[in-house]
Symmetry: C3
Subunit: 364 residues, 3 copies
């Protein structure tokens, strides 16, 4: 009923010699070419057969004590106490990039359903499913929906009426994509994320009845190469669209309100919340647990630190943090003052009581 | 396998003349009755055929530059530079309300499963499902559960043992409603929300065993006309009930702990978290990402700004914000002082060093 | 199609006499042995037939006004105005523990699917499912997965390739457990939680392409007796494992990033977020809506108050709170100063303007 991209035995890291590895990553070997590597490990917790990486000078001093047998090292980093008889260093332009290449090589892939529509999936006769797509068990594809080539719906996913998913997408179990919402090509959506719930919009009620629901008749439009984590929610627009640009990456438990416009190449970390109609420009990076107010405007190439609250607008190229978010230089100075606030107040009060008989401490 | 409330061709906004629209919303037309409208747009991003709305004086000055061809205007707002030969203004008592009427009119509705129980749904023989209900594919209805007239379970929803859902409800895909929990009539629950998980209650363990689970044997009782967003969680009570009042609206990713008592007509915005046994009075509005401590008591007609943390209690009719939440006048003044805190401290230190040889800056 | 641990009529609390109850909890009865008890209630909202509990002296004075007919009282607490002719007090070593025993006794249990695999569940022929397990409707168990004895998958759950679940676990509807992730014995996972989504890891892109995905090929390893709430997410490691220790309890909507290492007996309250590679030591208690930065290190036996942000590291045995988290004594003093900050600044400015002609208030 299921096939796996890689057989289970391949899921253990392959065994590779240090000199072979140096060739694979086009690196320069300094040390023992015969070391056999079979696993990856952080430098501080290695084991025989483990490969680690030293991306910057700060990590190099741990090499002497590490139990790892080889390391990918960013060129220019000096590694003290290396014994080339026993262990291997492989110098590359960028150790992080080399690790990605190795991870891609040994990635076991995701266990997928078979090509075609599983007998327990429910595909409306008026939906269009590419014959190369995989519609897993329990999935539901409503009337008018379109599923592109090679796209995978893992299991128990729901694709609403007239929704469209491009080619090469992987939609994990339990994902719900509402009516008329669209995803581009090569998108990856993790489990139980919901795209296209109604925006949260009401007019105030009166004494006779409660809040009046504003119908949310818009949709969500998601670009190409977008990745969305698990249990995130992206609401449909009141009218028009909620938009997520190309190559934007969204972490778990992120909430994006109705009518938000998110640019290309944006990063939104875990649990960040965007109120309705917020805008974020291209290449902006937003830390975890950030809040953007309704209608907040954030420019391009902005960096927002985790835990910040953005009340109104942030210009292009700013680095901001805090509650409310401010340029980081000011915010860090205020935070430093805040840490000693009680002591500062006590000392100021003591001095001023001496100097000014009229001075009263607060709430006195 | 599925029917849609509206046929696809109706999902495009209908084309309507300005004078017809004025009649529909019982408004007064000032301008060209022949303008043909086919879409809604914000005033700053309109297009030919677009209708917009001007709810307050602040938006009126954008009309001259707008590409929209007609606008609903709240009576009393003066719109400068209107050319009645070319474009149309329609004056109404409340532009927001008129827009709701139009959205209701053109709302394509949600693609629903057919009436009856889908062959892949599992309904226990001892469950009671009204014959007018729609139980979609993959839904599971356990023993003793009751589903009211015209209620829709979209797909892959789970209704636990002895749970009850009133009439006219729409339960989106992946929603889980635990044993013995009840919803009133005309409720709307968006995808992957979980009602009736166990409350988080433990007694401290000792050296022999870990934390002792306190059984959570209560339930959740939800009133009529309640709306709950996607990926929200409402925990069952330890004993007794967790209660959500009538007409209360809950956004996405809201967490409501065990034994909370929420009044009628309450609004809870996205990602707000309520600790166990918190209480909120009628008509209170809670912004996004707010935290209420365990056992917090919030009165009626309170407004709590986004990002606030409520430690203990808030009286009726207060407007509060901040960490901890304080009356807004004090909180805003403190926030303003906080923004200049580092500069303030530097200047005070400089003066006091001159004035008082005994003064020491903090952490010195 | 489903069986329930307890028949519906048992779901109402049983009727029990006060003297019988005293025997059950091994307590000492002071008062009327004939009181008939049929429900549990908080002391302030009781009713005839209701049992309540008085865990500490602070609650004892409410007994005189309470409508409850009996109370479990922690030995040593003095209860004023008790009329032993009419009502019953039952003294026990710990009223909280006695209540747990009673709740366990009357717990109606969860409505489970039958033993075996439901006809609509999809179990790969190369998966190993213990014959005593219950695989509910719509569940999907992929190739190489293992399900232990007596474990229950409620409905529509997804168990990925080569994943393993121990014995005695209860997996609620809609839970998704990714490829190669493992759970120990006696774990409880509430609905729509996702274990094993990819960690959020990218290398910066360049002008030619967007962020480069770092393959997340590790897994998640969860110990025994772990409880995880609804809509929580635990990401798989980049390589190696994300680890949750034995007996750790995790609330709803908690997010745990890739490569986090959580000790034994840890408590994580609702909506707490852990960045990648964060570590938490044994027996640490973390309040609600807390944020741990990437790579934060929190020791053993730490207490972190709700709403705190942990930037870097917290030593063993600390009690911390605030943004950033600081020892509670300092944080509380700072918070107290913060509450009067605007007033303090005004008064200091007024004095310094008199004393020092060179003093300028901030932003002046």
């Amino acid at each position: 009923m299921s096939s796996t991209t890689a057989a289970p035995e391949q899921q253990q890291s392959p065994r590779v010699r240090a000199d072979e590895l140096a060739q694979i990553v086009q690196g320069e070997l300094v040390g023992n070419p015969d070391v056999i590597l079979s696993t990856l490990a952080p430098i501080e917790s290695g084991a025989p057969g483990a490969l680690t990486f030293i991306r910057a000078q700060g990590f190099a001093k741990q090499w002497a004590e590490s139990k790892c047998e080889a390391a990918l090292v960013t060129r220019g980093v000096e590694v003290p106490d290396h014994d080339p008889e026993k262990r291997a260093l492989i110098y590359v332009d960028d150790a992080d990039v080399a690790v990605v290449r190795i991870l891609e090589m040994i990635d076991p892939g995701v266990a997928h359903p078979d090509t075609g529509t599983h007998p327990t999936a429910q595909v409306d006769p008026d939906a269009e499913v590419d014959p190369t797509a995989r519609i897993g068990p329990g999935c539901v594809v409503m009337k008018g929906a379109r599923i592109g080539a090679s796209t995978v719906l893992m299991a128990n996913a729901f694709i609403g009426g007239d929704a469209a998913i491009g080619s090469g997408c992987v939609i994990h179990p339990g994902v719900v994509i509402g009516d008329r919402c669209t995803l581009g090509n090569n998108c990856l959506v993790f489990a139980n994320t919901v795209i296209g719930a109604d925006g949260f919009g009401y007019l105030p009620g009166d004494e006779h009845r409660g809040a009046i629901k504003v119908p949310q008749i818009g949709s969500v439009v998601i670009g190409d190469d977008v990745e969305i984590g698990a249990c995130s929610t992206i609401d449909r627009a009141k009218f028009g669209i909620t938009k997520i640009g190309n190559r934007t990456k969204i972490d778990n438990q992120v909430h994006i309100g109705h009518n938000c416009i998110i640019g290309d190449d944006v990063l939104l970390c875990g649990r960040t919340t965007l109120g309705g109609s917020a805008m974020i420009g291209d290449r902006t990076m937003v830390g975890g647990a950030v809040v953007l107010n309704d209608q907040a405007r954030v420019g391009k190439d902005v960096k927002i630190a985790g835990g910040s609250i953005v009340l109104d607008s942030i210009d292009d190229n700013q680095t901001v943090l805090g509650v409310p978010a401010m340029p980081s230089r000011v915010a860090l100075a205020n935070a430093a003052a805040q840490r000693n606030l009680a002591q500062f107040c006590r000392r100021v009060e003591k001095s001023l009581k001496k100097l000014d008989p009229g001075f009263k401490p607060p709430s006195a």
